[in-house]
Amino acid sequence: MKKFLALFLAVMMTATLFSFAASAETADSALLAEAGLEVGPDGAYRFIETRKITVEIFDRGLDNGKTSAYDNKWTQWIHDSVLAKHNIDVEYQPVDRWTEVDQLNNLLAAGDAPDVCVTYDYSTIQNYAKMGGVTDLAEYVDKYASVLPSLWGWLGESNIYWDKDPATGSIWALEAKLAVNTRINTFVRQDWLEKLGIAEPTTLEEFEAMLRSFKDNAELLLGDEADKMVPFSLSQDVGWRDDHLAAAFIPETITDKDIYVYGFDDRHLMFPGYKEAVRKLNEWYNEGLIWPDFALYGDGDTTEDNMFKAGYVGSMIHNWDLPYRDGDNGITGNLHKLVGPDANYVAVTAFQNEAGLYRKFLSAPIDRKVFLTGANDEPLASLLYLDFISNADTVKFLQVGEEGKTHKVLEDGTIQNISGQEGSDPEWIQNSLNNIDYTITINGLNLGGDIELTLKSIATGYAGVDAALIAKAYDASLLDGRIGKHVAVGEVEAEVGMSNPLAEKRDVMLCNAIIAKPEDFDNVWDSAWADYLASGAQAIIDGRLAAWEAVYGEATMLP
């Protein structure tokens, strides 16, 4: 009986498998023929004739032992694998990471842009789409869905249709998926807390008391360099650097509708309650708790970074893992060298909102935007390339590489990234963290769905940093986070071309409000705010409100 059952099951299974395979093939054969595809020996769809495509790649320079962004072991591996699997010949075209938008603009305007482009800036894509410079993906992604199982499997409907225009149905870009939604953290010098016998702050009051205590004990903490003491550091990008503090002043009851309508500025400047957060910073500034020169240094200036490294800064709000990056050359590495092995930044959660939550507003699960240029005459090959790049095995290999070359496996199975460190293969160095620049449809480590293993692996991936600090930072960054939702109302005309001028205005307004005398604060803020609204922000609010109401009517929350 048992034998029979086993045999029956085996036969059933084989039959099911065959029928699946068969149906998939028969359903597609016409499609395949039309597209010039065949099923290869490994079951993958491959072109009968070799296709050539060019793909944009971010270039981050060559310092710290990095290799050429477009010609190294990884790109060679991708090139050979895609050629073998899909018969597509890929060529990479480098674009400087830090000026990617400007450079991409130039390439697009000159008609020299690669077939497959990637950018963080959707408005660039939109602009060129309007001029007919971008391929509409709508028909391809649906028509060839059966040929693109990994792309659909990884991005899913949500990210593939994310940018679908509700009116026209066009899709100008695919949204990469954000696998890890960590954004910002509040950091405090752990060794200073210990020296002063203060517990990690858990409320705004405790945080303020801590700042004052840092200031009052500058001699004890910094000795001869007491005049260098900075209890709380800021930069000209105030909106980023006050994020956790500001989120605590925003009403817990804010609706999805308001988040959208007042959400044009990605630093949440227009959210209700924001002004009071800035007033708090203004108080701190006038009390001498904030670095007085913060507004003078531009983007990319290293003055503030050097102050972190030299150990002058007591606390800051910044990128979720900033102090732990870059090993010996990073902040923690330098603190250990210059101050001592106990000198560490620890992530704290100190800013509660009215409901007692450590609220923060996180991004929607989208990341870079991948699009095909209008001149691209190989849309299917380009999508197949994306399918290959989204394949779980490809992603895993690119993210962690081979054991002994880019990672070590620890006793408990944790995969420790050792790229660029001692014991790793310098030829297989990852030019970007987990090769994010090659895995253009994913941001964040993804080890095949095992979340615990992924977290452990993230935590051990920072050379010279205690894994517990990373784990803590990871949790703190996500605690009580409100994840952005997808508002599909199409384009709002008033937004075109406004993101740069308004961002500039925002920075100017925040910097000036913080350094105002306390009695002038309201004046400075109110006049700057009126100017901000009059300079286009009000038109955007009105446009977004109308767009929301046209699609969602009276509803204020999204599912």
Partner: protein, 320 residues
């Protein structure tokens, strides 16, 4: 230079085609030398003039400028947009203010320096000073702005640290709008004064020494000689340079304000060039950027012609 100056003296008499041929055969190298600059102007200055049309059209990168759609309001859409934009009006105001200050304070500076240098009896000292003074001309504004931060930042700047230690308190050179304007003007003078002096020194060299001898014989002292010989000798040069400066009153450097600015002084540092960059080019509003640029050029030309006419009325030679 010498050959070029000699050329008209020879003056090949254009009796016939044969004469021209001889002339060209003799001086073809000079015309060859001229070809490159002419090509430069033809390719980079005259050919792109057609693109001025972008100011009146809806920019579209996939179409040629002739086929782009006309902008609204009979093509004036982007001019209206600019003039109803507060930031543009501020930028206009700031451009004029900063350039006026540069003119009032910065224009006489090289003349003064030239006069001073000219009076130096110790020639080696004069040469060294002159060289040192024109060195900053070769520094880019990015470098100067970083130097300025190192020197003038309120807490970490060397100058302010010194002032604090001497008990004077800090001066907000860079983080207060009024102070920043003067820092801007001062740095501009520091960067350009030595270089601009060269022209005046050259002009002074050209003044006939007999005039000085005559003045001495008449009993003129140093100041009398400066006022009655040197300055009148410099007058044509001063007038030409003044006309050129007036032509730039609405034009603006991009790198100088862009490098020196910071978020606190944006209300005085945002000029037309930086406005064009942030609101136009960076935001892909190419039509707006072109419209503003065209407006700027037209006003500059008006100023240039105006100054030239006035100069000619006053009996100077002018430019044209």
């Amino acid at each position: 230079m010498n050959t070029a100056a000699r050329a008209p003296v020879v003056r090949a008499k254009p009796k016939a085609a044969k004469g021209i041929a001889t002339y060209l055969r003799r001086y073809w190298t000079l015309y060859l030398l001229l070809a490159l600059p002419l090509a430069y102007f033809a390719i980079f200055k005259y050919t792109p003039i057609a693109n001025i049309l972008i100011a009146f059209k809806q920019y579209n990168m996939t179409k040629s400028v002739w086929h782009m759609q006309w902008a609204k309001n009979n093509g004036w859409e982007f001019f209206i947009k600019a003039f109803s934009n507060r930031d543009f009006l501020y930028a206009l105001r700031n451009t004029i203010t900063l350039n006026m200050l540069d003119l009032v304070v910065g224009f006489p500076a090289p003349i003064l320096l030239a006069l001073l240098l000219n009076e130096l009896p110790f020639k080696a000292f004069k040469r060294v000073t002159q060289t040192v003074a024109y060195m900053p001309h070769f520094l880019s504004w990015i470098i100067i702005s970083q130097l300025a931060l190192q020197l003038f930042a309120p807490t970490n700047g060397l100058v302010n640290m010194a002032l604090r230690n001497l008990g004077f308190g800090t001066i907000p050179f860079l983080n207060d709008s009024a102070h920043w304007v003067w820092t801007y003007v001062f740095l501009g003078i520091w960067q350009s004064v030595g270089w601009n002096t060269i022209i005046y020194l050259a002009a002074i060299t050209g003044i006939n020494p007999e005039l000085y001898e005559a003045a001495s014989v008449d009993g003129a002292g140093r100041f009398r000689k400066i006022f009655h010989v040197t300055l009148p000798g410099l007058k044509p040069t001063i007038v030409v340079l003044l006309i050129l400066s007036l032509g730039r009153i609405l034009g603006s450097d991009f790198d100088r304000p862009y490098a020196l600015t910071n978020k606190i002084v944006n209300d005085v540092s945002n000029v037309i060039a930086t406005f064009v960059y942030t609101s136009g080019i960076k935001s892909m509003q190419f039509s707006l950027a072109t419209a503003v640029g065209l407006f700027q050029s037209v006003v500059c030309v008006i100023f240039l012609l105006g100054a030239n006419t006035i100069a000619e009325r006053l009996g100077e030679r002018g430019l044209m």
